[in-house]
Amino acid sequence: MTAMTRREWLLSERPASRRQARLGQAYRTWLTFRSNWLAMVGLGIVLALILVAIFADVIAPYNPVIGGDLRTARFLPPLTGDHLLGTDDLARDIFSRIVHGSRLTLMVVVLVAVIATPIGLLVGTTSGYFGGWVDTVLMRITDIFLAFPRLILALAFVAALGPGIENAIIAIAITSWPPYARLARAETLTIRDSDYINAARLQGASSARILWGHVTPLCLSSVIIRVTLDMAGIILTAAGLGFLGLGAQPPQPEWGAMIAAGRRFLIDQWWVATMPGIAIFIVSLGFNLLGDGLRDVLDPKARK
């Protein structure tokens, strides 16, 4: 070990243990990823979003929901005093609201990913592995969900459940799993008759064990890519619901709701709606770049 640097150990052609092999593989992936500077920009944006969300209380100079003096501090343009991005119609600091709004955005993205990905994986792998009527039933249900435009279906769910950020998350999660199920099913179909799966079956492994231990890990990388690429869409859907008054409710500093509120003042006080719009743009772009980069390194079929 002493003679070997950590880098050499990781890139060793003859790993001495499974751990070394895995870490080596991860390191090689990272090296490929790092060479794609656009993907690094995406990663940087997403990491910045996470940091801003964690340290929102420290970063934001003002309270995001309680404004200043209505008489003197309304509609201050950007860079007035210490209001970096200006203030809105209720004299609230827009920068502080965007910083706190990042928490809501991140919460939506993470929760939707956590809810929708397992559902999609479960439905897809089960359907692809068992085939037959299980496949037919599950895929027709998926078809039904896919037949609706996503925002419209989310609107219907929110209308039924009542407006609010939690219900918006549930609605988006319910509408985003079908593509993952499709993807997982397709992957499962290509591997379910391969020799190592049959070997596991001959050794007496149960279906659940095969699905969880052998099929799911192989589907995971393509699903992760898809989820990351979808995150921009999730953010936009959440913002769309907020804009329509069905997502986060006032005074929560959700970016879509902020645009909706600022729209009335767009002609004279352009910054009220523009600033959260830019925030949504940057974060969506970040997730898209990251997803693209991840696909380049994770998708075995795309590798040259």
Partner: protein, 529 residues
């Protein structure tokens, strides 16, 4: 036809793209107004109870009597030439002006008046209570509203109500006179022509309603048979443009003459534009918070008082609602008989905290507030939310559209409701009836005024309001209302905040538009441009 239209649209689009912006101009004899007209559900005076439809009826129909919008105490005859209150105060007889006619050319007779009033009572739509509160009902109305001789109508009542109350009620849209002959020609299944009149016109006002296209436009034309001075405008058109920003752009370009629903910020921009001007008129509408007495915290008198100190009335009126409201804290709007114009409350967090401690909730509590999701109500609600938080009261806003919030409010399932109340007629009883009367506080009460909606049980105040309704002497009556309002201010679960000011922005050449105290008083018969 379709092709030529498409071609036309394409040409117009091409011109807008490639030519320098040219200021459009409306025709010289046409007045075009932009407003949100989606509240219209009917054009039948017996059913009209909405802001826009009231204004349209006010300019196309006439009542027996009217009042001067600048001084509502000056009542004059429109269809009636004169009127006389019987010695016992139980009836009023109206003598009809001779020689006047409807837009259809039919003469206006006492028979039309009797028909219109009995028709409104028998149809029994939302505004019918304005007439039925005098003891009229579909069964007895044929005996209560009768014709005597050729040109006299007698209006009988079950009690000697204050004469001004009765007269003001007859100025409401529900008392407008319709053309009996024309309406009955279109009767179907004994509906008094209701289905037809919903979308048609049978009146005698300065303008005739030619067309109503829902959520698009209302077109009115000069009434050639109008008995008064002919209006200068041949046509008046309302365009449905709900967005204030769009209205402002159209007004600046000259595509419309009057913009009716601009927000405070847009009005600031209009004030700065030399081509445009602003006309204001106080309206009777009141903005208030209703605190439901079924809530354990809100039912404490000291909490109710504390909340009245936790609204920054003046700051809201100066900023978010600049130019659109004035601070007013009693239930009778300024301009009404007996209106109380004292504003004893202002933002005072320290005082509110004392009151909360007195009520046993020094650390505050959590409540919800049902908020209609219009920009203005949401803005006021958020400003109140902020000042309430300063005293530890956590207020969660529950937004909904008008229908949702109102349904919940009417079932009294709310904690706090932020509302706007418009008086139905110009007599103080209209607001006293709803803010200060609650004859039956049980869940299945038949009458459900605002006091009931907030579960405020007030047998004493109800008696005072009932007595004021019957007082014939105006000065004494005004004093009675002042007394009720003073007590109301100190004890009621209503945080009354503002009185509305209606603001219209118009092009400089538009003159003679009158903004009256209620929407059917908004008058454009004398507009010139």
């Amino acid at each position: 036809m379709l092709h030529s239209r498409t071609l036309l649209a394409a040409t117009v689009a091409a011109f807008t793209l490639f030519s320098a912006p040219v200021r459009a101009e409306t025709p010289a004899d046409t007045l075009i107004q932009a407003w949100a007209i989606d509240d219209i559900i009917s054009l039948d005076p017996a059913e009209i109870f909405e802001f826009t439809a009231s204004e349209i009826a006010g300019n196309s129909y006439e009542g027996l009597i009217g009042y001067d919008p600048a001084d509502v105490t000056k009542i004059y005859g429109k269809i009636a030439e004169s009127w006389e209150v019987a010695a016992d105060g139980m009836s009023i007889s109206f003598k009809i002006k001779p020689g006047r006619s409807f837009a259809s050319g039919n003469p206006i007779t006492a028979e039309d008046v009797v028909f219109s009033l009995t028709r409104a009572v028998k149809l029994d739509k939302s505004p019918a209570f304005i007439l039925t509160q005098f003891g009229l009902n579909p069964e007895n109305v044929d005996q209560m509203v009768v014709q005597e001789g050729a040109d006299t109508v007698v209006f009988k009542m079950d009690k000697p109500y204050a004469p001004t109350l009765v007269l003001y009620c007859l100025t409401a849209t529900v008392g407008f006179v319709v053309d009996k002959k024309l309406v009955m020609e279109h009767e179907a299944n004994g509906d008094f022509g209701y289905e037809w009149l919903k979308t048609n016109y049978a009146g005698s006002g300065p303008f005739a309603i030619r067309e109503w296209r829902a959520n698009e436009a209302v077109v009115m034309e000069r009434n050639a048979n109008y008995s008064g001075d002919a209006p200068a405008m041949a046509r008046v058109i309302y365009r449905h443009i709900p967005e204030g920003a769009t209205q402002r752009l159209l007004l600046e370009q000259g595509d419309i003459d009057i913009a009716r629903s601009l927000t405070a910020e847009e009005l600031d921009a209009v004030r700065a534009n030399p081509d445009l001007k602003i006309q204001e008129g106080p309206k009777g509408s009141i903005y208030y918070l209703g605190l439901n007495q079924k809530n354990e915290y809100l039912s404490k008198p000291a909490v109710r008082q504390a909340m009245k100190y936790l609204v920054d009335y003046q700051a809201i009126a100066d900023t978010i609602m600049k130019g659109k409201v004035s601070v007013h804290q009693a239930f009778l709007p300024n301009g009404f008989l007996g209106a109380l114009n004292d504003n004893p409350f202002a933002l005072d967090v320290a005082r509110a905290k004392e009151l909360l401690a007195e009520a046993g909730v020094p650390d505050g509590f959590s409540v919800t507030m049902d908020t209609r999701n219009t920009p203005e109500i949401t803005g006021i609600a958020q400003a109140i939310q902020q000042t309430m938080a300063e005293a530890g009261i956590t207020m969660e806003l529950i937004p909904g559209d008008g229908q949702q919030t109102l349904t919940k409010y009417r079932a009294r399932n709310h904690d706090i409701y932020i509302g706007r109340w418009g008086p139905d007629y110009q007599d103080p009883h209209t607001n006293a009836d709803t803010f200060a009367r609650n004859p039956d506080n049980s869940d299945d009460a038949t009458s459900k005024p605002l006091a009931w909606r907030n579960a405020w049980d007030i047998p004493e105040m109800t008696k005072m309001a009932d007595a004021a309704m019957l007082e014939g002497d105006a000065a004494k009556r005004a004093e009675m209302y002042l007394e009720i309002q003073r007590e109301h201010q100190e004890t009621s679960p209503f945080v009354i905040m503002f009185q509305e000011i209606e603001v219209s922005a118009m092009r400089n050449n538009v003159n003679g538009f009158i903004v009256g105290p209620s929407f059917n008083d908004n008058n454009f018969a004398h507009v010139t441009k």
